[in-house]
């Protein structure tokens, strides 16, 4: 018997088992930190960063990536169409590097589309998904992660470690960037907030949450690569479109229509600002 198998410490290495916020009763809000000294936050953030790094190798985003890959490669629409016919800007069926090169101009639809918008477009066109169904629940919740979110996760993962390179060649791509830049700085609503109120300066934070200055490439990439991201609070994937939506909620704005031109423009501004930076997503978030 050459093989002498013994097991070591099963429980001790269950790294991710602490990501259990979703398991708390919904009503119980996390108690505010009551430690004495102010500016303790650096320590808290550092601790979380360590935790996040441990999880990065086993990011549950991979589960959704695998599901998305299966849909992309195997799912057939009416008439046998597949996502192999979907052109994400680099040719039909080409996924590698496509995510970090959107938003871009798509001549077939005469529109600038961000990655999420293009992927949904393809899933409707080739796989027979109904757009109104997708719009009914565009974002994941603890009951269900929609298929398009898994496909986005798969497509995003195929750009991991590649440089962000959203094109600025077509006049409409430039237009999207310019309009997005304006939307970013536009103050309105009962609180007079714009995106820039929170994301236009260095070193700011809300509570303990660091706020990247999205006007700077090295900071913009931090926000960019967080999404799609696995949210440990809740245990599901959320996308860039969700992030924009929820920012506008907190900005006290009305709700932006899912996959609308305004969001594509804003994403064009943010992505182009992050151009040249290396994409390390899909992300993992608290």
């Amino acid at each position: 018997m050459k093989q002498r198998l013994s097991t070591l410490m099963v429980a001790a290495v269950m790294t991710a088992s602490f990501a259990a916020h979703a398991q708390q009763p919904a009503k119980k809000a996390p108690p505010p930190a009551k430690a004495a000294a102010p500016a303790k936050k650096e320590g808290i953030t550092a601790e979380f960063e360590k935790f996040r790094e441990v999880l990065e190798e086993d990011n549950p985003a991979e589960l959704f990536e695998a599901k998305g890959e299966d849909i992309w490669k195997n799912k057939k629409g009416p008439g046998g169409a597949t996502m192999a016919q979907c052109d994400l800007g680099l040719g039909a069926g080409v996924v590698k590097g496509a995510y970090v090169q959107m938003p871009r101009w798509f001549a077939d639809v005469g529109q600038v589309m961000d990655a999420e918008r293009r992927i949904v477009h393809c899933m409707v066109k080739y796989l027979g998904y109904k757009e109104e169904d997708i719009r009914k629940q565009p974002f994941s919740n603890d009951q269900r992660t929609p298929d398009h979110v898994s496909v986005i996760t798969y497509v995003a993962a195929q750009s991991r470690n590649l440089k962000i390179a959203a094109p600025q060649k077509h006049a409409k791509e430039i237009e999207a960037y310019r309009i997005g830049k304006e939307i970013f700085a536009y103050r309105a609503g009962p609180y007079d907030f714009s995106c820039a109120t929170c994301h236009g300066d260095d070193g700011k934070r809300i509570r303990t949450q660091d706020l990247p200055n999205l006007r700077k490439p090295a900071e913009a990439v931090k926000a960019y690569q967080g999404w799609p991201g696995y949210r440990m609070t809740g245990g599901f994937m959320l996308t860039q479109q969700w992030r924009m939506n929820d920012c506008f909620r907190q900005q006290r704005f009305p709700e932006p229509t899912y996959l609308s031109d305004s969001i594509t423009a804003l994403l064009a501004y943010m992505t182009v600002t992050a151009n040249g930076q290396v994409y390390k997503g899909p992300g993992i978030k608290r």
């Binding site: 198998l5 013994s6 097991t7 589960l63």
Partner: protein
């Protein structure tokens, strides 16, 4: 039907490091949904790991484990090319088996 696991198995010296990511809701039975109704408990309760045809782990889990959990094991004496078979069953009778091969 449950979604597939992601299994990583690699030799580190004389020890195989096996990590597995499972796709599961892991509901505690204590959480309430938006409508205020209790979400029924739904969790993985049994896990087995076979390496090279031999059972190396047989374990029970409960609701204290997170949604989409990650487990890591270290197995001594395994070798490159050994088949790793991981199986789980939950309290509703749903189950899933996935395989991987230990890489160098």
């Amino acid at each position: 039907m449950a979604d597939p696991m992601k299994i990583r198995a690699q030799m580190k010296g004389d020890t195989a490091e096996i990590r597995v990511l499972m796709s599961h809701a892991m509901e505690t039975g204590q959480r309430k949904d938006n409508a205020g109704a209790t979400v029924p408990a739904h969790f993985i309760q049994a896990i087995t790991v076979d390496v090279g045809g031999k059972r190396v782990i047989q374990g029970q889990t409960s609701t204290s484990v997170s949604r989409n959990p990650v487990f890591g094991f270290k197995v001594k004496g395994a070798k490159v090319g050994d088949k790793v078979v991981i199986h789980w069953e939950d309290n509703k009778g749903d189950k899933r088996t996935d395989e991987a091969v230990i890489a160098a």
